[in-house]
Symmetry: C2
Subunit: 252 residues, 2 copies
């Protein structure tokens, strides 16, 4: 099985590395900026190409499109003649965005990727969808080589997943940032609170979040809630967040 | 070194177990409900006592008070004659709450404990404070036997830590709960999103949260933000949270 990649961002980079690790040959890589394609191609022994038409003609089995959501449409228009399965890797773009291509699908890794940080791709959930059973079978075959966690997820469900990921990842990270700033402003080491952050994420691996909710709001510990609100007077925006989330938690 | 414990809740239980693991003798355990004291005492080969006066007379080096914040005062009144160091384990109660006792301190484990879930206590940060250098030295000696992460934290700083923990633990857990419910309502397995939750917590072990913020708000991806808000119309309370946190993230 061979794969080509359009894109060179975080997702494209981690996918390319995972493919190499799984001994799946990456044929061509195209990026909006050729230098980026070259850099990634070198990393995984692939060929950096300057024109999308070159990728369309390279006879890879699967072509993964891993570019910004709003660039997918213009990329697709240039893939005339490609004979393999084309799949995008976006959480929020519908399968139908690839309707112009005969055999198409979605290959969505539900994870937060940073360029600097290595990741064990075998633990990354892959959400798959395709236009035909045979295209789906090919994507599943590829997915199984990369990850132990492959899921059939249709476009509507994928949108829900993407929204849920905002609550499960983007918002918690923002709140970690508030905690870090509170500590820094009081000469406290952010390291003190890191084990707590890890354990909070670990807990819900085996329990429903609602069953392991802790803190002053769930105990309706009014005295502590009032103290905390007083301490946040200098940070009206954090105070608003504190009040809103505590109110919601109190309602249970 | 010997320790006695007042309380039998989550913190008291994990402390007692960690003491046993570290080969620190637990002499006596008292609890509001004697059965609970008995149960915990059996677990760590200690003696369950019915009266606080028995603990006060048992000549342990350190007495840890691990009861609800508002019960600390009444416990302290009954410890006349105790000759060791008395320390409470609360994040939000001042050192001065123990002023009635000659040698006193705070022994605050900054972690979220559940009775069902084992924890590696050597990774739990212990925040220490004491009324005298000699009391502090004793608490530090004990702390070093239990954990690799001991910090000097005064009462004002401890209050900040406790507030930061709400943002770093209690609020993220509540948001995990929203994600879980969104998935369940759409026949999606909560497991799909668990690796994302772990990786989000892992990321900030080596990076500042503000430097690894991802998601539609930080990209100012208005199209996705609008789509998500539409999807949340049926959940006005989650919509309010979505809008508020997205607004804050956009401000950077």
């Amino acid at each position: 099985m061979t794969v080509s990649i359009i894109g060179s961002g975080n997702v494209a980079t981690h996918l390319a590395k995972a493919l190499k690790t799984a001994n799946v040959k990456v044929l061509s890589i195209w990026s909006n900026r050729f230098e980026n394609a070259e850099e990634l191609a070198q990393l995984v022994n692939a060929k950096a190409v300057k024109e999308l038409t070159e990728i369309a003609a390279d006879e890879s089995d699967i072509l993964l499109i891993s570019v910004k959501d709003d660039a997918i449409g213009s990329v697709v228009q240039k893939l005339n003649g490609y004979s393999g399965v084309v799949a995008h890797t976006s959480g929020s773009v519908s399968l139908t965005a690839l309707n112009g291509i005969e055999s198409h699908g979605v290959f969505y890794p539900l994870q937060t990727f940073s360029k600097q940080k290595e990741i064990d791709f075998s633990l990354v959930p892959l959400c798959l969808e395709a236009s035909t059973p045979s295209a789906l079978a090919k994507l599943k075959k590829l997915a199984a080589l990369l990850s132990r966690h492959c899921y059939d997820v249709d476009s509507e469900q994928r949108k829900i997943l993407h929204l849920a990921a905002v609550f499960a990842c983007n918002f918690p990270n923002y709140l970690y940032g508030i905690a870090q700033q509170l500590l820094a402003q009081n000469q406290l080491d952010f390291n003190i609170i890191k084990p707590l952050i890890i354990e909070t994420a670990n807990k819900i691996q085996t329990a429903l979040p609602v069953n392991v909710q802790t803190g002053p709001a769930i105990r309706n510990d009014v005295q502590t809630l009032n103290k905390h609100e007083e301490m946040l007077q200098k940070h009206p925006e954090w105070l608003t967040i504190y009040k809103l989330l505590s109110e919601q938690i109190k309602k249970g």
